[in-house]
Amino acid sequence: MNLDLRVPMGLMFIFTGAIMTTWGIKTNGNAALYERSLGINANLWWGLVLLAFGLTMFILGQRSQRRLAKEPPPPVEEGEVRRGH
């Protein structure tokens, strides 16, 4: 299996985080909207957190992908018996 889950996952959180941060900046100072979250701009802050998380995951995933690409592929196990027939 050579799809590192961290790459798509990182991407997803980067996008989500970016959207939320943008929305948070756009609506910053809108007291009515943030009344329910105790006056905290939840979109902005949590968007930034998600962005950071997504970036970390993405970078980690990329790095291991690259390392895998450099290494020779692991030897195929010959002794593996196909079962179930």
Partner: protein, 600 residues
């Protein structure tokens, strides 16, 4: 939300090209890293029943709900990782029923495979139904429907079909790998959605200490996990230490985490024995943090002052409006905190229990918290997390169903000796069939009000005795196939009889028990559950032992690799001692003890 769906399906398509053999499809090629499987291990269980249900129990019973983690799940996960995984993984069985065939005989496996297949279909149907109801209540798609000019009655169908199609597509394409990858994605999404909720909620009630004071005002017993556990009348769940420890810790927790193929399948997908054993242990670590994430919203919801405003969420042209009106609805008037009262949909009056108090709709605790705290924007994330939890539960059920159906029913009894391609095609169509059946269940649930409760009750009858069979099978070489078969059936019957003869106080006879005659009253339905499980387990254990002693045992040579005393110790990898599963297991247990002390 749209973004999430795109990614979910994208993963399905990306993985499709790796799906070449049935082994890839059903077992993820047994090649996944342990951390992915570990997260999927808990995520398969982190369905809606968990997120909504734990929030509901948090609001109902308080911190005592953490027992489900502290003595229910975590020790069981350590047990399955250290002691049972070597047999599951080492026996090369491809599913839990197949292990039963290897260890016992065909009929035990057929019994387990059939009951399991039926249960997975029904539970994913229930999950779908619950999701569609929640979408309706929270008005998630109302705006979309209005902008297209569709009738709002279609929302229910729309949500069911949408979730079904998405889950179907990604499993159809990518099999178990895709399901596992998506479960991990859903895991992080659920955390991303619920963590800010807990943080905001805690800040609102004034931190941990504020929560303590606020909850104590509702019921002083609710902030303690262990206090008052020695006697049934001094804790909110109404259960004493023996029932709790045996029922939850030994029977229910272990029964679920050690025998349910739904969760075991993710561990069996990992790449070697070492990682297979590590999977449940890795899973136990985030599991320890989960009480904060899923129980606290319930606790906060019950401790908040009653809202005297209702918010109607309206979505026009993609912009969501919140209209706040100051007329409390009947639900809230009768309810407590953010938890509304249950309203009978026919009469419009609050439903009452046997002593005349209004019943609270605890299931709304967590969803109401989302609506209460999240502004537009992050609210979308929260709702997506909720949907993700529904889907992850459903997907786990569906992959478990297609594996068990294909290997244990189709390949064994219907069509033997087909080609690998053939079985893979069958697996794909089993996925379609399973989801179609789930949809039927979801619709059946609309017409029969009690169907959900009834089904869950029947599941508990079937599941409760299972652990005894596995325990005897793995650790007592004398136990026989006949013994296991008879034991399983009598355990289920014992659970039914127990339910028919007892009743929690303040409940009406019928679905809650006592349908034969009432010989004993339990202080709560939890106590009834736990004791029922103990009776089922005990009956199964005793009957299996007796029947086994009367029947001929299998020769020991056939049981190598299946029974503890006849299996050579798994070869120790050249790792340092602290990397071994045993060390990890002990660390996890210590963590669990610390957690229990913290909540005490």
């Amino acid at each position: 939300m749209l973004l999430y769906f795109v990614f979910v399906l994208g993963i399905g398509f990306a993985l499709k090209r790796y799906m070449k053999t049935s082994k890839d499809f059903f077992q993820a090629g047994r090649a996944l890293p342990a951390w992915i499987c570990g997260l999927a291990f808990i995520s398969a269980n982190l369905g809606a029943q968990e997120v909504i249900g734990m929030g509901a129990s948090g609001a109902k019973y308080g911190l005592e709900t953490a027992h489900f983690y502290g003595i229910g799940a975590i020790p069981a996960m350590v047990f399955v990782g250290i002691f049972m995984m070597p047999f599951y993984y080492g026996s090369k069985a491809r599913s839990v029923p197949e292990f039963l065939r290897l260890r016992f005989d065909e009929k035990t496996r057929a019994l387990n495979a059939c009951s399991f297949a039926v249960m997975t279909v029904f539970s994913s149907g229930i999950s779908m139904y619950a999701m569609a109801r929640l979408i309706q209540t929270l008005h998630v798609f109302d705006g979309l429907f209005r902008s297209f000019g569709w009738a709002p009655e279609g929302i229910f169908t729309f949500s069911i079909l949408m979730s079904a199609v998405i889950v179907l597509l990604y499993i159809f394409l990518g099999g178990l790998t895709s399901a596992i990858y998506n479960e991990v994605l859903q895991f992080f999404l659920i955390i991303a959605g619920f963590l800010p909720l807990v943080l905001l909620g805690l800040k609102n009630v004034g931190g941990w200490n504020g929560l303590k004071t606020a909850v104590s005002a509702v019921d002083p017993r609710m902030m303690h996990e262990w206090k008052g556990v020695m006697h049934a009348s001094t804790n909110p769940m109404g259960i004493e230490i023996i029932g709790l420890g045996m029922g939850l810790g030994f029977v229910l927790g272990s029964g679920y985490w050690c025998t349910d193929f739904l969760v075991i399948q993710t561990a069996m997908a990992s790449k070697n024995m070492e990682s297979a054993r590590r999977v449940p242990l890795i899973a136990a670590v985030p599991k320890m943090v989960f009480p904060f994430l899923v129980i606290l919203p319930g606790l906060i919801a019950i401790s908040l002052p009653k809202p005297h405003a209702t918010t109607i969420v309206r979505n026009e042209n993609g912009v969501i409006y919140h209209e706040t009106s100051n007329i409390p609805t009947r639900e809230q008037e009768e309810g407590r905190g953010l938890v509304p009262a249950k309203i009978n949909p026919v009469t419009g009056k609050a439903m009452l229990d046997a002593s005349g108090h209004p019943l609270l709709d605890y299931d709304m605790a967590t969803p109401n918290m989302l609506l209460h705290y999240f502004p537009t924007g992050i609210l979308g994330l929260g709702l997506t997390a909720l949907l993700a939890s529904f889907m992850s539960g459903m997907a786990g059920n569906v992959t478990a169903f297609n594996t068990v159906f294909t290997y244990d029913l189709y390949q064994s009894y219907i069509h033997k000796g087909g080609s690998d391609r053939h079985y893979m095609a069958v697996g794909r169509w089993a996925t379609v069939g399973g989801i179609l059946l789930s949809i039927c269940t979801a619709y059946a649930a609309i017409n029969f009000n009690n169907i959900m409760d009834t089904l869950q009750l029947v599941f508990s009858f079937v599941n409760a005795p299972l652990f005894a069979t596995f325990l005897l099978g793995m650790f007592w070489k004398r136990s026989t196939g006949h013994g296991a078969f008879v034991g399983l059936i009598s355990g289920t019957v014992a659970a039914m009889l127990h339910h028919g003869l007892t009743l929690p106080i303040e409940a009406h006879t019928g679905i809650h028990g006592g349908w034969i005659t009432v010989v004993h009253h339990y202080p709560s339905d939890m106590a009834q559950n736990f004791w029922g499980a103990i009776f089922a387990f005990g009956t199964n254990f005793i009957v299996t032992v007796i029947v086994s002693l009367c029947t001929k045992p299998r020769p020991e040579s056939e049981l190598v690799g299946l029974v503890h005393s006849l299996t050579p110790k798994p070869p120790r990898a050249h790792n340092r001692w602290w990397k071994s599963p045993e060390a990890l297991g002990i660390a996890v247990l210590l963590g669990a003890v610390a957690l229990n002390i913290f909540f005490a």
